[in-house]
Symmetry: C2
């Protein structure tokens, strides 16, 4: 149903984000028993932009069928594959304070195939423990444990001060992608992908609409 030619152009990160959103919409449609849907209907139901949907998908192939639209289950499977979600990713969680604990218990990760396989923290009260079957190690053991578990993705939930040395240790351990919750600008080598999560951006989309409505 699609060419898997998604090595060609440089894909904007916003497109990738939207693929994740589309995949969630399709899951919902699947749960509702919908078999096929046009880009127009998809856009209307989920408040998307249908031209944008078509453009985003066009990076990866020709998914629509004339007169039918998209096959919901088929398109979702393709998107999951494109997003790398057709497999399980072991993940390292670094920092097990309030935020780390909250992220550990965040059910969304597991649902998408991200499995926290090791926790790292330097608090002696935590090291050596086991949280729901996941071991807590000291940062000094990172290289060994990351390699032993073939971990490529790390979630960084440490205070700003410690973020750069811990990132350096992650990179040295062979980590290839870092999701950073620490409010600091980190340096990583070119072949390591860094994604900063800035939660205040989410609030700003709200204040924008409140300010606009003159409240």
């Amino acid at each position: 149903m699609a060419r898997s030619s998604y090595r060609l152009p440089k894909i904007p990160e916003m497109t990738v984000r939207r693929l994740s959103v589309y995949s969630r919409c399709l899951r919902e449609l699947e749960e509702d028993g919908v078999k096929t849907i046009s880009s127009q209907e998809l856009a209307e139901r989920f408040n998307l932009n249908s031209a944008q949907v078509r453009k985003d998908l066009a990076y990866f192939g020709e998914f629509g069928v004339r007169g039918i639209g998209y096959y919901v289950a088929g398109l979702r499977a393709e998107l999951q594959k494109i997003l790398g979600l057709d497999r399980e990713w072991p993940v390292a969680l670094v920092g097990f304070g309030n935020l780390g604990s909250a992220l550990f218990n965040y059910r969304g990760f597991g649902r998408q195939g991200f499995r926290i396989a090791a926790i790292f923290d330097d608090d002696p009260a935590k090291v050596g423990r086991d949280v729901d079957g996941v071991p807590v190690f000291a940062v000094v053991d990172m290289a060994r444990e990351v390699r032993a578990r073939s971990i490529q993705i790390a979630i960084l939930a440490v205070p700003a001060e410690g973020a750069q040395p811990v990132t350096d240790a992650l990179v040295a351990a062979g980590i290839k992608a870092v999701l950073n919750f620490a409010p600091s600008r980190l340096r990583v080598p070119r072949d390591v992908r860094l994604k900063d999560v800035d939660l205040s951006i989410e609030l700003e989309t709200l204040s924008f609409y409140l300010a606009k409505s003159g409240r």
Copy 2:
């Protein structure tokens, strides 16, 4: 320097998100002492798309000056105003477990003018306490306290099960915007803005690039 005509078209949420990003880039430039910058230079330095930058800004006015580009400080001030960040927003934090505590301590919110003015939680061990000067109330007192503090924005950090009744209480109390961290689909009236934060989308942008590079 700009028409403040941002009531005209429907602004896509992705555009609003990008305005937040541009504002952060401009802050960085300001800190570095940069006075003016072209959309091209801005795009190159921060890995943005210059046509997109121009298109996003065009929703709100004509900010560029021919032969000069953008005035960094002036454009940032305009963006802050557009985003509603030229004022302080009192915010209600609902749910004070691990995630709530982490969000309370998240420094990014305060930096952008979002001040947590009240915490709501039904744990009797928490109600009546005061966390760094912020009072913790029971959910039953929400309407009174939200009104007394003129709060319009709430951050929802409760478990999925309790999310809808708490949202209903927030709406009844007069809240106009909800940032939802609970992994549940909430119903709100049309005049209330709901923003779901799905942290696994952030991880998916990483798995996409790892999968693409064939790792």
